[in-house]
Symmetry: C2
Subunit: 637 residues, 2 copies
Amino acid sequence: MQFYKEGFRGGNPDVKPTAADLRVRAAYEALPDRVDVLIAGCGPAGLCLAAQLAQAPEIKTMIVDPKPGPIEKGQADGVNTRTMEMFQAFGFAETVKRESYWVNQTAFWSPNPRNPAHISRIGRVQDVPEGSSEMPHTLINQARVHELFLEVMKNAPTRLEPDYSWAVRDLEIDPTTSDHPVTVTLENTGINAGETKTVRANYVVGCDGARSRVRSAIGGELHGDAAHQAWGVMDILANTDFPDVRQKCLITSATEGNILILPREGGYLFRMYVELDKLNPDERVSSRNFTADHMIEAANRIMQPYSIDVKEVVWWSIYEIGHRLTDRFDDVPAGQDRNPRVFTAGDACHTHSPKAGQGMNVSMQDSFNLGWKLMQVFKGRSDPSLLRSYSAERWVEAKRLIETDHQWARIMSAPAGESELDSGDMPRFQKQFVENLEFTGGLAVKYDASALTGHETHQALAPGFEIGRRFHSAPVVRVADAMQMQLGHVAEADGRWRIYAFAGQDSAAGSDLYRLCEWLMNDPDSAAQKYRRPEEDIDAVIDLRAIFQQGFDALLDQQMPEILKPCTGKLGLQDHEKIFCVDHKDAGDIFEMRGVDREAGCMVVVRPDQYVAHVLPLDAHAQLSSFFDGVFRSPST
Amino acid sequence: MQFYKEGFRGGNPDVKPTAADLRVRAAYEALPDRVDVLIAGCGPAGLCLAAQLAQAPEIKTMIVDPKPGPIEKGQADGVNTRTMEMFQAFGFAETVKRESYWVNQTAFWSPNPRNPAHISRIGRVQDVPEGSSEMPHTLINQARVHELFLEVMKNAPTRLEPDYSWAVRDLEIDPTTSDHPVTVTLENTGINAGETKTVRANYVVGCDGARSRVRSAIGGELHGDAAHQAWGVMDILANTDFPDVRQKCLITSATEGNILILPREGGYLFRMYVELDKLNPDERVSSRNFTADHMIEAANRIMQPYSIDVKEVVWWSIYEIGHRLTDRFDDVPAGQDRNPRVFTAGDACHTHSPKAGQGMNVSMQDSFNLGWKLMQVFKGRSDPSLLRSYSAERWVEAKRLIETDHQWARIMSAPAGESELDSGDMPRFQKQFVENLEFTGGLAVKYDASALTGHETHQALAPGFEIGRRFHSAPVVRVADAMQMQLGHVAEADGRWRIYAFAGQDSAAGSDLYRLCEWLMNDPDSAAQKYRRPEEDIDAVIDLRAIFQQGFDALLDQQMPEILKPCTGKLGLQDHEKIFCVDHKDAGDIFEMRGVDREAGCMVVVRPDQYVAHVLPLDAHAQLSSFFDGVFRSPST
Ligand SMILES: Cc1cc2nc3c(=O)[nH]c(=O)nc-3n(C[C@H](O)[C@H](O)[C@H](O)COP(=O)(O)OP(=O)(O)OC[C@H]3O[C@@H](n4cnc5c(N)ncnc54)[C@H](O)[C@@H]3O)c2cc1C
Ligand SMILES: Cc1cc2nc3c(=O)[nH]c(=O)nc-3n(C[C@H](O)[C@H](O)[C@H](O)COP(=O)(O)OP(=O)(O)OC[C@H]3O[C@@H](n4cnc5c(N)ncnc54)[C@H](O)[C@@H]3O)c2cc1C
């Protein structure tokens, strides 16, 4: 964590200096008439986007929600490893690690063959496969995740806060102008309920949930499973003789239905999902009248011979959801060749069952994909056509998610013995669960080749950093202070690109690594120079880091290229945190772990949302240039 | 981290529910006339004490400081591993780990034998010896440590805040009463400067620094080295070609003096200490007129051939300090047999050179020793004579500290070749540094046998948990959720005692472990039952944890004694976090690491301040009882 670059400032380093000319937020102050980005909805998608844009004083962002304030409980609770990696970039992964429940093991229970009226444990699986991520899979109240994003927003230079009690009612796009072309009608839902207000925006992002107004305003529709699945979900404080109550459990009873148990933060709370469609027909019919008591009764029947004694029902809900998807995540109909002005993200464009715990995660990943693109456009670093890639990339992922969710449901509901997974010694749902772990961890996402995702020509230089997939962190040592750390943790949610240059066998002055550094530092046409304004730091747009194979002590005395110890900020202070080497203790060798070519080295180009954009030889200056030219433009144009 | 025990509450779980009947803190509200504990001084010692007492609504605590508000910079910056372990108990070790500089390596520089006008590196040492603590040695602004304690206070049930702009001027003890016998005269130092106010207190703790008024009011004097050592200290933002600027460095030049470099939080800031007495005679004489510029010039001479280009002087000071100690840390003169009413802690009773970085650490350890004792007396769980042990225990430690500090100085200043450390291949100050590491880590503290520290009779059952020394944490797995964690991290700064019961080979029903559990649960005369009020939880006073040798999955199906799954809190919720087992991955086997007798097992009794009070066989019920009878009393008497 770096701070004091612009001079010493006491206090919590997460609180950034306030930007100039902020909107006045006194009580009864009118809403602004014009903003750059209007975000509809303070769910995970909206807040994750707002937390990014809040860092950029040049973007006037407004985020509205019809609710009177932040939610306190309920909704989703699963934070997969991929999302934890993203939280790291926002600075609050440690907080979530400390407060949350960690899903270390998942247990499987089914009817006891000797007494099918009773359940018995049939297996147990380590939930996060070894080596798949440095982060745990955690469970925590969605409201708490919201709070952590709200804190990031409030601590950001723009001190961004939501405007509660305002809903987007409608919007219109004026195709004849590029100056705030979207006119949004907001409706008050608070003390001035019904009052409307018009705001003009350059871009609108609908993060307004499954019944999205933004989506319908741009003519989007959810397609898919009309047949909704209904789940009873409750967060309870309860005692039980069920031995696995502090492990994630999938429980199938012989005749009483299924239950999912998710232990939660704090050591006492846990969540139960009851699949209502699997209850007996009588109950199914009346599931609309289901109460918390019915759910507790059902749980007690399903879990025989164990029982649950509920002390407090914290929250409960019937969660009805289909597997549905819109055709596109922006306002540009297929076949039209123009840049988008309105986007949707999260539940506004895709919904799926809570079984795989993806709702909150995928929604945030949507807006993490969009955030840096908007920043890049507003800073004049990319043509607005960059924004087309948002729908293109995320729609494919959403589609894959819904198919996987479907497949899981199909396998689960096939009659015994009739599924392709019914061979072998592991029960079918345990087998499917294990096969899905990479997917449920959020780690299977892979973007296809595009202007943002390079070709696989040089993938063999680092097979462990797969182009199109998230940068898989590994241990390194920061040379200057011999700090053992994760290389991936240098990436903050600051909208910058990163190049990780892995030194080859020859890593002395004159080597490929040094020549790359010198080119980036000195050639006005190099990627590091070309897209930044003259007054900006050398690493303002592209942040270069080098990883060597020697020990830290050998490297301390080596004369390093200037760009690896750049002087930045208004004081021109040396940055000592660009140079890394392999771990000298027992954490593992990053070259080994990711298969980096020790002889040649390579560079790994990583997008601001932590996805690997390219793998190239260290001397591929021209290829790097042409790749970046497809993404960036010089800020002068 | 456990929460929601008394029912769900949204938001940051570090914010505890507010206690009833709190003091009103509106502007111009008068100070209270009577308090239970009055703390003088908001330095590390005072705040660490206040953060503990703030947890207890039954104690009315007030903390005053003549300053107008919290400091922003300067003073000490070293947080040793022992203090980090204590921060863990306060809940902010993770925050410090994230924000601070970690001292991983210390480098030694001295005159280059071939060119004594230039310094060269002669060695490098890993700063925290492997296995000595699970915590790092960190450096961070003392003001930030203050802030973190202030946050703990504000989040505590009593929402405690300092009363700034008030100094203790004097105090008097009325020996004829036990009802608020200390009358304290406070003097305003703010807008009403000079105004005085009288407060009556049951106890007063002087954490008011080296010029302590509280100390002089009770007739205490600092004895020791009259000859003050003078250090120039500065926190700077600077560039340099010195390669080890991000490592802790001890630099000795041939003729220009010595320098200590301490890199700091944030990646840019660092601290330099210049030993003024080692400068040339001219400078020494004028050291009183020393400025920051002189110090920078001296540094540039000492560090030849390297140089420093200072961009911002954040803070600087001449820090003159002797090795001094008072005779006692309370108001009871030697030979008198009564209980103390007034205490001193931190710099108020001992001062030492900043070289070993102990000032802030030892001060907090003082008041961490005192805090739980005060809580225990106020809750009626111990006779006030318990408070005599504070001075007894901490004075011995302070004495040892000052002697070590002295010895270091003597060895360092002996002419070349005339020190006992001048043989072998390591330079003498590097050798001394390595030998001192356990001491400077704060890990060498050992309390002598007393009512609070048992005899070593059964030490062989667990040699790695040395009686009288701090509980040395080791990895375990929490059985209920298969969580890999540190056993020591179950200890919060909540004033409770802990018994860690290590199961022997036989750990089934009927084993020694089970019989211990049953005795503690069911015998009204057992330690767990005897000292608590009937309405209190079974673990309110003594918190029992068990550690087994099997894997977590085997243990989940074992019927456990009731006290290991107790139902507590107003909802009577099961606690799942009392049962642990050896780590099943690669973190290490706690039985192995601490030498716990695998055949017999044992119990390790740990004080609220994390010191091992006793090691006993699992069946030593009577010995445990008699030990606790020497500490506790039943709350009814
Ligand atoms: C009641 C409920 C229960 C749920 N339970 C579960 C569960 O048990 N498990 C699970 O995995 N997932 C659950 N989910 C889904 C999960 O919460 C979502 O997948 C996740 O929150 C998606 O995030 P999002 O930001 O896309 O949308 P949401 O979290 O739905 O946020 C949308 C936000 O937009 C606001 N909004 C609505 N209309 C407008 C408007 N016109 N203008 C502006 N703002 C508007 C809403 O007030 C809301 O704050 C539940 C959702 C709900 C609503
Ligand atoms: C200017 C300065 C520079 C220092 N520099 C270093 C350094 O470089 N390295 C190092 O290791 N240590 C340094 N120290 C020492 C280190 O800060 C102390 O060892 C440590 O803070 C001790 O903590 P404490 O709580 O005992 O006392 P202090 O931190 O000294 O706190 C005492 C507090 O009591 C208050 N106080 C004073 N008089 C009264 C009164 N009459 N009534 C009530 N309150 C009162 C003071 O305002 C102060 O807030 C420095 C201390 C000072 C004051």
